[in-house]
Protein backbone atom coordinates (compact mmCIF):
# COMPACT_ATOMS: atom_id res chain seq x y z
CA UNK A 1 0.00 0.00 0.00
CA UNK A 2 2.76 2.42 0.86
CA UNK A 3 4.37 1.45 -2.38
CA UNK A 4 1.30 2.31 -4.36
CA UNK A 5 0.95 5.68 -2.65
CA UNK A 6 4.56 6.55 -3.19
CA UNK A 7 4.56 5.60 -6.86
CA UNK A 8 1.31 7.49 -7.32
CA UNK A 9 2.81 10.64 -5.87
CA UNK A 10 5.85 10.16 -8.05
CA UNK A 11 3.72 9.62 -11.11
CA UNK A 12 1.76 12.80 -10.44
CA UNK A 13 4.88 14.85 -9.82
CA UNK A 14 6.79 13.55 -12.84
CA UNK A 15 3.66 13.62 -14.96
CA UNK A 16 2.93 17.18 -13.93
CA UNK A 17 6.38 18.21 -15.01
CA UNK A 18 5.93 16.55 -18.40
CA UNK A 19 2.49 18.11 -18.74
CA UNK A 20 3.79 21.65 -18.24
CA UNK A 21 6.28 21.15 -21.03
CA UNK A 22 3.96 19.11 -23.26
CA UNK A 23 1.43 21.96 -23.21
CA UNK A 24 3.96 24.23 -24.91
CA UNK A 25 4.43 21.77 -27.74
CA UNK A 26 0.75 21.16 -28.14
CA UNK A 27 -0.30 24.84 -28.02
CA UNK A 28 2.19 25.85 -30.68
CA UNK A 29 1.34 22.84 -32.82
CA UNK A 30 -2.36 23.56 -32.46
CA UNK A 31 -1.94 27.06 -33.85
CA UNK A 32 0.95 26.81 -36.28
CA UNK A 33 1.07 23.09 -37.13
CA UNK A 34 4.75 22.74 -36.48
CA UNK A 35 6.85 21.18 -33.74
CA UNK A 36 8.85 23.81 -31.91
CA UNK A 37 12.08 21.90 -31.35
CA UNK A 38 13.54 24.82 -29.44
CA UNK A 39 10.95 24.32 -26.70
CA UNK A 40 13.13 22.02 -24.56
CA UNK A 41 15.86 24.66 -24.63
CA UNK A 42 13.45 27.26 -23.30
CA UNK A 43 12.87 24.77 -20.47
CA UNK A 44 16.62 24.56 -19.84
CA UNK A 45 16.96 28.32 -19.98
CA UNK A 46 14.07 28.57 -17.53
CA UNK A 47 16.03 26.53 -15.00
CA UNK A 48 19.17 28.57 -15.48
CA UNK A 49 17.40 31.92 -15.55
CA UNK A 50 15.85 31.00 -12.22
CA UNK A 51 19.37 30.63 -10.85
CA UNK A 52 20.39 34.01 -12.26
CA UNK A 53 17.30 35.70 -10.88
CA UNK A 54 17.88 34.09 -7.47
CA UNK A 55 21.44 35.43 -7.67
CA UNK A 56 20.18 38.95 -8.23
CA UNK A 57 18.26 38.70 -4.95
CA UNK A 58 21.20 36.99 -3.21
CA UNK A 59 19.24 33.80 -2.61
CA UNK A 60 21.89 31.35 -3.80
CA UNK A 61 23.37 30.36 -0.43
CA UNK A 62 21.85 27.38 1.36
CA UNK A 63 19.24 28.52 3.90
CA UNK A 64 19.55 32.12 2.73
CA UNK A 65 16.27 32.26 0.85
CA UNK A 66 13.03 33.52 2.40
CA UNK A 67 9.76 31.69 1.94
CA UNK A 68 8.67 33.97 -0.88
CA UNK A 69 11.84 33.15 -2.86
CA UNK A 70 10.30 30.38 -4.95
CA UNK A 71 7.09 32.21 -5.91
CA UNK A 72 9.07 35.34 -6.80
CA UNK A 73 11.63 33.45 -8.85
CA UNK A 74 8.94 31.36 -10.50
CA UNK A 75 6.88 34.34 -11.62
CA UNK A 76 9.87 36.39 -12.80
CA UNK A 77 11.37 33.46 -14.69
CA UNK A 78 8.07 32.72 -16.36
CA UNK A 79 7.83 36.36 -17.43
CA UNK A 80 11.38 36.39 -18.83
CA UNK A 81 10.86 33.11 -20.67
CA UNK A 82 7.54 34.34 -22.07
CA UNK A 83 9.39 37.32 -23.54
CA UNK A 84 12.05 34.93 -24.83
CA UNK A 85 9.49 32.71 -26.54
CA UNK A 86 7.82 35.73 -28.12
CA UNK A 87 11.20 36.99 -29.37
CA UNK A 88 12.07 33.62 -30.87
CA UNK A 89 8.77 33.54 -32.70
CA UNK A 90 9.14 37.10 -33.92
CA UNK A 91 12.71 36.71 -35.18
CA UNK A 92 12.93 33.10 -36.28
CA UNK A 93 9.47 31.77 -37.10
CA UNK A 94 7.35 34.70 -38.20
CA UNK A 95 9.46 35.50 -41.27
CA UNK A 96 8.84 31.90 -42.34
CA UNK A 97 5.09 31.96 -41.76
CA UNK A 98 4.36 31.30 -45.41
CA UNK A 99 7.37 29.05 -46.05
CA UNK A 100 7.06 25.25 -46.24
CA UNK A 101 6.76 23.52 -42.86
CA UNK A 102 10.12 21.83 -43.32
CA UNK A 103 11.93 25.18 -43.39
CA UNK A 104 10.37 26.17 -40.09
CA UNK A 105 11.24 22.80 -38.57
CA UNK A 106 14.88 23.12 -39.55
CA UNK A 107 14.91 26.69 -38.25
CA UNK A 108 13.56 25.41 -34.94
CA UNK A 109 16.43 22.94 -34.72
CA UNK A 110 18.79 25.82 -35.45
CA UNK A 111 17.27 27.92 -32.69
CA UNK A 112 17.58 24.93 -30.38
CA UNK A 113 21.31 24.54 -31.10
CA UNK A 114 21.79 28.28 -30.70
CA UNK A 115 20.16 28.33 -27.26
CA UNK A 116 22.10 25.25 -26.14
CA UNK A 117 25.45 26.68 -27.13
CA UNK A 118 24.89 30.28 -26.13
CA UNK A 119 23.83 28.97 -22.73
CA UNK A 120 27.19 27.34 -21.99
CA UNK A 121 29.19 30.49 -22.79
CA UNK A 122 31.12 31.91 -19.85
CA UNK A 123 29.25 35.19 -19.80
CA UNK A 124 25.87 33.47 -19.92
CA UNK A 125 25.24 30.45 -17.70
CA UNK A 126 28.71 28.91 -17.98
CA UNK A 127 29.85 25.36 -18.52
CA UNK A 128 29.63 23.98 -15.00
CA UNK A 129 26.55 22.31 -13.56
CA UNK A 130 24.87 24.20 -10.74
CA UNK A 131 21.82 23.98 -8.51
CA UNK A 132 18.85 26.06 -7.47
CA UNK A 133 18.11 23.88 -4.45
CA UNK A 134 19.25 26.56 -1.97
CA UNK A 135 16.04 28.36 -2.92
CA UNK A 136 13.99 25.80 -1.07
CA UNK A 137 14.87 22.83 1.11
CA UNK A 138 13.09 19.63 0.16
CA UNK A 139 11.60 19.23 3.61
CA UNK A 140 9.27 16.44 4.65
CA UNK A 141 5.82 17.84 5.20
CA UNK A 142 4.24 14.78 6.66
CA UNK A 143 4.06 11.03 6.58
CA UNK A 144 1.34 8.66 5.50
CA UNK A 145 2.28 5.24 6.74
CA UNK A 146 5.90 4.88 5.78
CA UNK A 147 5.60 7.29 2.88
CA UNK A 148 7.17 10.70 3.26
CA UNK A 149 5.32 13.58 1.63
CA UNK A 150 8.13 15.74 0.31
CA UNK A 151 7.81 19.41 -0.48
CA UNK A 152 9.21 19.21 -4.03
CA UNK A 153 6.71 16.56 -5.06
CA UNK A 154 3.73 18.30 -3.57
CA UNK A 155 4.83 21.66 -4.91
CA UNK A 156 5.28 20.25 -8.40
CA UNK A 157 1.81 18.75 -8.28
CA UNK A 158 0.26 21.94 -6.88
CA UNK A 159 1.98 24.27 -9.36
CA UNK A 160 1.07 22.01 -12.26
CA UNK A 161 -2.58 21.76 -11.27
CA UNK A 162 -2.79 25.53 -10.79
CA UNK A 163 -1.22 26.28 -14.17
CA UNK A 164 -3.13 23.62 -16.10
CA UNK A 165 -6.44 24.72 -14.59
CA UNK A 166 -5.55 28.32 -15.39
CA UNK A 167 -4.72 27.39 -18.97
CA UNK A 168 -7.89 25.38 -19.31
CA UNK A 169 -9.90 28.37 -18.15
CA UNK A 170 -8.05 30.63 -20.53
CA UNK A 171 -8.54 28.40 -23.56
CA UNK A 172 -12.13 27.41 -22.94
CA UNK A 173 -13.46 30.36 -21.00
CA UNK A 174 -12.08 33.57 -22.41
CA UNK A 175 -12.08 35.62 -25.53
CA UNK A 176 -8.37 35.04 -26.14
CA UNK A 177 -8.96 31.31 -25.78
CA UNK A 178 -11.79 31.44 -28.27
CA UNK A 179 -9.56 33.35 -30.67
CA UNK A 180 -6.84 30.72 -30.18
CA UNK A 181 -9.25 27.91 -30.94
CA UNK A 182 -10.60 29.78 -33.95
CA UNK A 183 -7.09 30.41 -35.32
CA UNK A 184 -6.20 26.78 -34.65
CA UNK A 185 -9.20 25.69 -36.65
CA UNK A 186 -8.86 28.07 -39.57
CA UNK A 187 -6.36 30.90 -39.45
CA UNK A 188 -7.56 32.64 -42.57
CA UNK A 189 -11.21 32.71 -41.67
CA UNK A 190 -10.31 33.90 -38.17
CA UNK A 191 -8.47 36.85 -39.71
CA UNK A 192 -11.50 37.66 -41.83
CA UNK A 193 -13.57 37.80 -38.64
CA UNK A 194 -11.28 40.52 -37.33
CA UNK A 195 -9.00 38.36 -35.18
CA UNK A 196 -5.40 39.57 -35.15
CA UNK A 197 -3.67 36.27 -35.89
CA UNK A 198 -0.20 37.57 -35.08
CA UNK A 199 -1.34 38.62 -31.64
CA UNK A 200 -2.84 35.21 -30.99
CA UNK A 201 0.41 33.53 -32.03
CA UNK A 202 2.41 35.88 -29.81
CA UNK A 203 0.22 35.06 -26.83
CA UNK A 204 0.50 31.35 -27.59
CA UNK A 205 4.28 31.47 -27.54
CA UNK A 206 4.26 33.57 -24.39
CA UNK A 207 2.04 31.08 -22.57
CA UNK A 208 3.90 28.01 -23.82
CA UNK A 209 7.27 29.46 -22.86
CA UNK A 210 6.05 30.58 -19.45
CA UNK A 211 4.84 27.04 -18.75
CA UNK A 212 8.19 25.74 -20.01
CA UNK A 213 9.94 28.01 -17.50
CA UNK A 214 7.87 26.59 -14.67
CA UNK A 215 8.72 23.09 -15.89
CA UNK A 216 12.40 23.99 -16.04
CA UNK A 217 12.45 25.27 -12.47
CA UNK A 218 10.60 22.26 -11.09
CA UNK A 219 12.87 19.91 -13.03
CA UNK A 220 15.97 21.74 -11.81
CA UNK A 221 14.80 21.51 -8.20
CA UNK A 222 14.51 17.74 -8.52
CA UNK A 223 17.53 17.08 -10.72
CA UNK A 224 19.96 20.00 -10.38
CA UNK A 225 20.99 22.18 -13.27
CA UNK A 226 22.80 20.39 -16.05
CA UNK A 227 24.47 22.46 -18.77
CA UNK A 228 22.09 23.95 -21.31
CA UNK A 229 23.79 21.76 -23.91
CA UNK A 230 23.29 18.64 -21.80
CA UNK A 231 21.34 15.85 -23.45
CA UNK A 232 19.10 15.40 -20.40
CA UNK A 233 17.16 18.55 -21.34
CA UNK A 234 16.59 17.22 -24.82
CA UNK A 235 15.42 13.90 -23.39
CA UNK A 236 13.06 15.75 -21.06
CA UNK A 237 11.69 17.73 -23.97
CA UNK A 238 11.41 14.59 -26.06
CA UNK A 239 9.37 12.81 -23.40
CA UNK A 240 7.08 15.81 -23.05
CA UNK A 241 6.74 15.82 -26.81
CA UNK A 242 5.86 12.11 -26.73
CA UNK A 243 3.27 12.93 -24.06
CA UNK A 244 1.75 15.58 -26.33
CA UNK A 245 1.63 13.17 -29.29
CA UNK A 246 0.27 10.30 -27.21
CA UNK A 247 -2.48 12.54 -25.84
CA UNK A 248 -3.26 13.92 -29.27
CA UNK A 249 -1.10 16.83 -30.39
CA UNK A 250 -2.95 20.12 -30.49
CA UNK A 251 -5.24 19.00 -27.67
CA UNK A 252 -4.73 20.69 -24.28
CA UNK A 253 -6.39 18.02 -22.15
CA UNK A 254 -4.72 15.32 -24.20
CA UNK A 255 -1.29 16.71 -23.38
CA UNK A 256 -2.01 16.44 -19.66
CA UNK A 257 -3.40 12.91 -20.04
CA UNK A 258 -0.46 11.81 -22.17
CA UNK A 259 1.98 13.24 -19.64
CA UNK A 260 0.39 11.25 -16.83
CA UNK A 261 0.49 8.06 -18.90
CA UNK A 262 4.16 8.52 -19.78
CA UNK A 263 5.03 9.23 -16.16
CA UNK A 264 2.99 6.23 -15.03
CA UNK A 265 4.88 3.91 -17.36
CA UNK A 266 8.21 5.36 -16.34
CA UNK A 267 7.63 5.26 -12.59
CA UNK A 268 5.76 1.99 -12.36
CA UNK A 269 8.09 0.11 -14.68
CA UNK A 270 11.01 1.36 -12.69
CA UNK A 271 9.38 0.31 -9.46
CA UNK A 272 7.51 -2.91 -10.13
CA UNK A 273 8.92 -4.43 -13.28
CA UNK A 274 12.34 -3.62 -11.90
CA UNK A 275 11.47 -5.45 -8.68
CA UNK A 276 10.25 -8.53 -10.54
CA UNK A 277 13.43 -8.70 -12.58
CA UNK A 278 15.70 -7.74 -9.71
CA UNK A 279 18.44 -10.00 -11.04
CA UNK A 280 18.29 -8.33 -14.43
CA UNK A 281 18.84 -4.62 -13.73
CA UNK A 282 18.76 -3.74 -17.41
CA UNK A 283 15.01 -4.33 -17.46
CA UNK A 284 14.30 -1.24 -15.39
CA UNK A 285 17.20 0.69 -16.86
CA UNK A 286 15.38 0.57 -20.17
CA UNK A 287 12.56 2.79 -18.90
CA UNK A 288 13.03 5.29 -21.72
CA UNK A 289 12.52 2.46 -24.19
CA UNK A 290 9.12 1.72 -22.68
CA UNK A 291 8.14 5.36 -22.96
CA UNK A 292 8.99 5.50 -26.63
CA UNK A 293 7.43 2.06 -27.06
CA UNK A 294 4.13 3.62 -25.96
CA UNK A 295 4.61 6.24 -28.63
CA UNK A 296 5.03 3.55 -31.27
CA UNK A 297 1.94 1.69 -30.06
CA UNK A 298 -0.17 4.84 -30.07
CA UNK A 299 1.05 5.84 -33.49
CA UNK A 300 0.26 2.35 -34.78
CA UNK A 301 -3.20 1.94 -33.33
CA UNK A 302 -4.49 5.45 -32.67
CA UNK A 303 -2.32 7.83 -34.69
CA UNK A 304 -4.32 10.90 -33.71
CA UNK A 305 -3.55 10.29 -30.04
CA UNK A 306 -5.67 9.16 -27.12
CA UNK A 307 -7.87 12.27 -27.02
CA UNK A 308 -7.14 13.48 -30.53
CA UNK A 309 -9.72 13.35 -33.26
CA UNK A 310 -8.98 11.68 -36.54
CA UNK A 311 -7.51 14.38 -38.72
CA UNK A 312 -9.57 15.24 -41.74
CA UNK A 313 -7.35 16.31 -44.56
CA UNK A 314 -8.50 19.68 -45.82
CA UNK A 315 -8.94 19.90 -49.55
Amino acid sequence: MDDVLETTINTLAVGGLYALIALGYTLVYGILRFINFAHSDVVAWGGWLALSIAGVFGWTAAGGAPAIAVPVVLVLTMAVCAAMGVTIERLAYRPLRKAPRLNVLITAIGVSLLLQNVGILDGVFGNKPDTIRPLLANSVLGEVGAVQLRLYDLMTIAVTIALVVGLERLVYGTRMGRAMRAVSHDERTAALMGIDVNRVITVTFAIGSALAAAGGILFALRNDLRLTADASWVLLGLKAFVAAVVGGIGNVRGAAAGALLIAFVEVFVHRYVGAVFADKPWVSQLQDIYVFGILILVLLFKPSGLLGKAAVEKV
Binding site: R175, L192, M193
Partner: protein, 275 residues
Protein backbone atom coordinates in the same frame (compact mmCIF):
# COMPACT_ATOMS: atom_id res chain seq x y z
CA UNK B 1 -24.33 56.61 -59.60
CA UNK B 2 -21.50 57.11 -57.16
CA UNK B 3 -22.82 58.23 -53.82
CA UNK B 4 -26.23 58.89 -55.29
CA UNK B 5 -28.10 57.45 -52.32
CA UNK B 6 -25.40 57.89 -49.71
CA UNK B 7 -26.15 60.20 -46.82
CA UNK B 8 -22.53 60.96 -45.95
CA UNK B 9 -21.62 61.39 -49.57
CA UNK B 10 -19.62 58.18 -49.79
CA UNK B 11 -20.88 54.83 -50.95
CA UNK B 12 -20.69 52.14 -48.27
CA UNK B 13 -18.30 50.23 -50.48
CA UNK B 14 -16.53 51.37 -53.57
CA UNK B 15 -13.85 49.85 -55.75
CA UNK B 16 -11.89 51.69 -58.40
CA UNK B 17 -10.33 49.75 -61.26
CA UNK B 18 -9.27 46.74 -59.19
CA UNK B 19 -6.96 44.37 -61.03
CA UNK B 20 -5.27 41.16 -60.02
CA UNK B 21 -3.24 38.65 -62.01
CA UNK B 22 -2.15 35.18 -61.07
CA UNK B 23 1.01 34.71 -63.07
CA UNK B 24 0.01 35.62 -66.61
CA UNK B 25 -3.68 35.10 -66.00
CA UNK B 26 -5.72 38.21 -65.39
CA UNK B 27 -8.21 37.05 -62.75
CA UNK B 28 -9.85 40.41 -62.20
CA UNK B 29 -9.45 43.33 -64.51
CA UNK B 30 -10.36 46.96 -63.76
CA UNK B 31 -13.26 46.06 -61.55
CA UNK B 32 -15.22 49.09 -60.40
CA UNK B 33 -18.33 49.03 -58.28
CA UNK B 34 -20.21 51.12 -55.78
CA UNK B 35 -22.60 49.81 -53.18
CA UNK B 36 -24.65 52.73 -51.83
CA UNK B 37 -25.32 52.96 -48.12
CA UNK B 38 -28.20 50.62 -47.38
CA UNK B 39 -27.98 49.17 -50.87
CA UNK B 40 -28.35 45.57 -51.93
CA UNK B 41 -26.24 44.81 -54.97
CA UNK B 42 -25.55 41.62 -56.84
CA UNK B 43 -22.41 40.29 -58.43
CA UNK B 44 -23.02 37.53 -60.93
CA UNK B 45 -21.17 35.72 -63.64
CA UNK B 46 -20.54 32.23 -64.98
CA UNK B 47 -18.45 29.74 -63.01
CA UNK B 48 -14.85 30.84 -62.77
CA UNK B 49 -15.67 34.42 -63.70
CA UNK B 50 -13.72 35.77 -60.71
CA UNK B 51 -16.57 36.60 -58.33
CA UNK B 52 -15.03 35.05 -55.25
CA UNK B 53 -11.68 36.54 -56.23
CA UNK B 54 -13.35 39.94 -56.04
CA UNK B 55 -14.52 39.12 -52.50
CA UNK B 56 -10.98 38.08 -51.62
CA UNK B 57 -9.69 41.40 -52.95
CA UNK B 58 -12.28 43.34 -50.98
CA UNK B 59 -11.51 41.57 -47.70
CA UNK B 60 -7.72 41.72 -48.02
CA UNK B 61 -7.09 38.02 -48.62
CA UNK B 62 -5.53 39.07 -51.92
CA UNK B 63 -3.75 42.34 -52.45
CA UNK B 64 -4.80 44.03 -55.69
CA UNK B 65 -2.09 44.69 -58.27
CA UNK B 66 -3.81 47.94 -59.06
CA UNK B 67 -6.88 49.85 -57.99
CA UNK B 68 -8.48 50.91 -54.75
CA UNK B 69 -11.00 49.58 -52.27
CA UNK B 70 -12.84 52.19 -50.23
CA UNK B 71 -15.00 51.43 -47.24
CA UNK B 72 -17.15 54.42 -46.42
CA UNK B 73 -14.73 56.57 -48.40
CA UNK B 74 -11.63 55.29 -46.60
CA UNK B 75 -9.05 53.27 -48.49
CA UNK B 76 -8.49 49.79 -47.09
CA UNK B 77 -6.76 47.99 -49.96
CA UNK B 78 -3.37 46.59 -48.98
CA UNK B 79 -4.44 46.23 -45.35
CA UNK B 80 -4.56 42.98 -43.41
CA UNK B 81 -7.84 41.02 -43.46
CA UNK B 82 -8.26 41.47 -39.70
CA UNK B 83 -7.90 45.24 -40.06
CA UNK B 84 -10.41 45.40 -42.89
CA UNK B 85 -12.82 43.28 -40.85
CA UNK B 86 -12.51 45.77 -38.00
CA UNK B 87 -13.20 48.60 -40.43
CA UNK B 88 -16.60 47.07 -41.04
CA UNK B 89 -16.36 44.50 -43.84
CA UNK B 90 -17.71 41.05 -43.10
CA UNK B 91 -18.28 38.07 -45.32
CA UNK B 92 -19.64 34.57 -45.61
CA UNK B 93 -18.12 31.81 -47.69
CA UNK B 94 -19.23 29.85 -50.70
CA UNK B 95 -17.80 26.71 -49.11
CA UNK B 96 -18.92 27.16 -45.54
CA UNK B 97 -15.96 27.95 -43.31
CA UNK B 98 -17.19 27.86 -39.76
CA UNK B 99 -15.00 27.05 -36.79
CA UNK B 100 -16.37 23.52 -36.81
CA UNK B 101 -15.01 22.39 -33.47
CA UNK B 102 -16.38 25.40 -31.62
CA UNK B 103 -19.93 25.69 -30.37
CA UNK B 104 -22.46 27.72 -32.30
CA UNK B 105 -22.37 30.43 -29.65
CA UNK B 106 -18.57 30.50 -29.58
CA UNK B 107 -18.47 30.94 -33.35
CA UNK B 108 -20.48 34.12 -33.04
CA UNK B 109 -18.66 35.33 -29.92
CA UNK B 110 -15.29 34.84 -31.61
CA UNK B 111 -16.26 37.32 -34.28
CA UNK B 112 -17.84 39.71 -31.79
CA UNK B 113 -14.72 39.88 -29.66
CA UNK B 114 -12.91 42.25 -31.98
CA UNK B 115 -14.68 45.29 -30.61
CA UNK B 116 -14.11 44.71 -26.92
CA UNK B 117 -11.52 46.63 -24.98
CA UNK B 118 -10.09 44.46 -22.22
CA UNK B 119 -6.69 43.01 -23.07
CA UNK B 120 -4.95 39.79 -22.15
CA UNK B 121 -4.08 40.71 -18.58
CA UNK B 122 -7.59 41.79 -17.79
CA UNK B 123 -8.74 38.56 -19.36
CA UNK B 124 -6.41 36.49 -17.21
CA UNK B 125 -7.30 38.38 -14.06
CA UNK B 126 -11.02 38.35 -14.89
CA UNK B 127 -11.48 41.98 -14.02
CA UNK B 128 -15.05 43.30 -13.76
CA UNK B 129 -14.60 45.00 -17.13
CA UNK B 130 -13.73 41.70 -18.78
CA UNK B 131 -16.55 39.82 -17.10
CA UNK B 132 -19.05 42.51 -18.07
CA UNK B 133 -17.79 42.54 -21.64
CA UNK B 134 -18.02 38.78 -21.89
CA UNK B 135 -21.58 38.85 -20.66
CA UNK B 136 -22.54 41.59 -23.10
CA UNK B 137 -20.79 39.67 -25.89
CA UNK B 138 -22.71 36.50 -25.10
CA UNK B 139 -26.01 38.36 -24.92
CA UNK B 140 -25.42 40.03 -28.24
CA UNK B 141 -24.37 36.75 -29.82
CA UNK B 142 -27.51 35.08 -28.54
CA UNK B 143 -29.64 37.92 -29.89
CA UNK B 144 -28.03 37.41 -33.30
CA UNK B 145 -28.64 33.67 -33.18
CA UNK B 146 -32.22 34.46 -32.31
CA UNK B 147 -32.62 36.71 -35.34
CA UNK B 148 -31.20 33.97 -37.53
CA UNK B 149 -33.50 31.44 -35.90
CA UNK B 150 -30.80 29.11 -34.57
CA UNK B 151 -30.63 30.18 -30.91
CA UNK B 152 -31.87 26.75 -29.81
CA UNK B 153 -28.69 25.23 -31.21
CA UNK B 154 -26.33 27.51 -29.31
CA UNK B 155 -24.40 24.74 -27.55
CA UNK B 156 -24.06 22.35 -30.47
CA UNK B 157 -20.80 22.00 -32.35
CA UNK B 158 -20.96 24.15 -35.46
CA UNK B 159 -20.04 21.26 -37.76
CA UNK B 160 -22.96 19.18 -36.52
CA UNK B 161 -25.56 21.69 -37.74
CA UNK B 162 -27.63 20.95 -40.83
CA UNK B 163 -26.44 22.67 -43.94
CA UNK B 164 -29.01 25.47 -44.00
CA UNK B 165 -28.33 26.33 -40.37
CA UNK B 166 -24.60 26.44 -41.07
CA UNK B 167 -25.26 29.11 -43.69
CA UNK B 168 -27.35 31.00 -41.15
CA UNK B 169 -24.61 30.70 -38.57
CA UNK B 170 -22.11 32.11 -41.05
CA UNK B 171 -24.32 35.15 -41.47
CA UNK B 172 -24.72 35.50 -37.69
CA UNK B 173 -20.95 35.30 -37.28
CA UNK B 174 -20.40 37.92 -39.97
CA UNK B 175 -22.97 40.24 -38.36
CA UNK B 176 -21.25 39.84 -35.00
CA UNK B 177 -18.32 41.89 -36.29
CA UNK B 178 -20.79 44.80 -36.60
CA UNK B 179 -20.15 45.33 -40.29
CA UNK B 180 -21.16 48.24 -42.45
CA UNK B 181 -20.84 46.07 -45.53
CA UNK B 182 -21.86 42.45 -45.66
CA UNK B 183 -20.54 40.26 -48.45
CA UNK B 184 -22.61 37.13 -49.02
CA UNK B 185 -21.05 34.43 -51.18
CA UNK B 186 -23.81 32.22 -52.58
CA UNK B 187 -26.07 32.30 -49.51
CA UNK B 188 -28.72 30.00 -50.99
CA UNK B 189 -26.43 27.50 -52.74
CA UNK B 190 -27.70 23.99 -52.20
CA UNK B 191 -30.96 25.06 -50.60
CA UNK B 192 -34.44 23.90 -51.55
CA UNK B 193 -37.18 26.27 -52.62
CA UNK B 194 -38.60 26.67 -49.16
CA UNK B 195 -35.23 27.37 -47.58
CA UNK B 196 -34.43 29.81 -50.36
CA UNK B 197 -37.61 31.73 -49.70
CA UNK B 198 -36.79 32.01 -46.01
CA UNK B 199 -33.24 33.12 -46.78
CA UNK B 200 -34.48 35.74 -49.22
CA UNK B 201 -36.75 37.26 -46.57
CA UNK B 202 -33.87 37.15 -44.11
CA UNK B 203 -31.40 38.91 -46.40
CA UNK B 204 -33.91 41.66 -47.07
CA UNK B 205 -34.63 42.11 -43.38
CA UNK B 206 -30.93 42.36 -42.50
CA UNK B 207 -30.67 45.73 -44.20
CA UNK B 208 -33.25 47.41 -42.03
CA UNK B 209 -32.42 45.53 -38.88
CA UNK B 210 -28.65 46.00 -38.92
CA UNK B 211 -28.21 48.91 -41.26
CA UNK B 212 -25.79 46.99 -43.44
CA UNK B 213 -25.18 47.41 -47.11
CA UNK B 214 -25.02 44.08 -48.91
CA UNK B 215 -23.09 42.77 -51.86
CA UNK B 216 -24.25 39.37 -52.95
CA UNK B 217 -22.75 36.68 -55.14
CA UNK B 218 -25.38 34.23 -56.24
CA UNK B 219 -26.02 31.75 -59.00
CA UNK B 220 -29.72 31.63 -58.34
CA UNK B 221 -30.94 34.15 -60.92
CA UNK B 222 -34.46 34.23 -59.53
CA UNK B 223 -33.18 35.43 -56.17
CA UNK B 224 -30.73 37.95 -57.60
CA UNK B 225 -33.26 39.48 -59.96
CA UNK B 226 -35.86 39.75 -57.22
CA UNK B 227 -33.92 41.34 -54.42
CA UNK B 228 -30.96 43.23 -55.91
CA UNK B 229 -31.29 46.86 -56.88
CA UNK B 230 -28.24 46.81 -59.05
CA UNK B 231 -26.35 43.96 -60.64
CA UNK B 232 -22.81 43.75 -61.93
CA UNK B 233 -21.95 40.93 -64.29
CA UNK B 234 -18.39 39.75 -64.77
CA UNK B 235 -16.93 37.13 -67.05
CA UNK B 236 -13.26 36.14 -67.15
CA UNK B 237 -12.60 38.93 -64.66
CA UNK B 238 -13.98 41.61 -66.95
CA UNK B 239 -17.13 43.59 -66.17
CA UNK B 240 -19.50 42.98 -69.05
CA UNK B 241 -22.67 44.60 -67.79
CA UNK B 242 -24.09 46.62 -64.96
CA UNK B 243 -27.58 47.87 -64.22
CA UNK B 244 -31.01 47.16 -62.83
CA UNK B 245 -32.24 43.55 -62.98
CA UNK B 246 -34.53 44.19 -65.93
CA UNK B 247 -31.67 45.66 -67.94
CA UNK B 248 -29.35 42.79 -67.12
CA UNK B 249 -31.87 40.16 -68.11
CA UNK B 250 -32.03 41.54 -71.62
CA UNK B 251 -28.37 42.42 -72.06
CA UNK B 252 -26.96 40.53 -75.07
CA UNK B 253 -23.46 40.38 -73.57
CA UNK B 254 -24.81 38.73 -70.42
CA UNK B 255 -26.88 36.24 -72.36
CA UNK B 256 -23.85 35.41 -74.45
CA UNK B 257 -21.64 34.91 -71.38
CA UNK B 258 -24.13 32.55 -69.80
CA UNK B 259 -25.48 30.71 -72.80
CA UNK B 260 -22.68 31.08 -75.32
CA UNK B 261 -23.04 32.59 -78.78
CA UNK B 262 -25.90 31.15 -80.83
CA UNK B 263 -24.63 28.77 -83.51
CA UNK B 264 -25.58 30.92 -86.49
CA UNK B 265 -24.09 34.04 -84.95
CA UNK B 266 -20.88 32.17 -84.14
CA UNK B 267 -20.67 30.88 -87.69
CA UNK B 268 -21.18 34.36 -89.04
CA UNK B 269 -18.47 35.80 -86.77
CA UNK B 270 -15.97 33.14 -87.76
CA UNK B 271 -13.86 30.97 -85.41
CA UNK B 272 -12.30 33.98 -83.61
CA UNK B 273 -15.70 35.31 -82.67
CA UNK B 274 -16.72 32.19 -80.76
CA UNK B 275 -15.65 32.92 -77.19
Amino acid sequence: MTGASSGAGHPALETRALSLSFGGLKAVSEFSLAVPVGGLCGLIGPNGAGKTTVFNLLTGVYRPDEGEVLLGGVRVDGRKPSYIARCGMARTFQNIRLFGELSVLDNVMTAGGVRTRSGLFRTLLRTPLHVAEERALAERALALLDVLGIAHRRDEQAKSLPYGDQRRLEIARALATEPRVLLLDEPVAGMNTQEKRAMRALIQSLREQFGVSILLIEHDMGLVMEICEQITVIDHGVTIARGAPAQIQNDPAVIEAYLGVPDDAAAAAGPEGAA
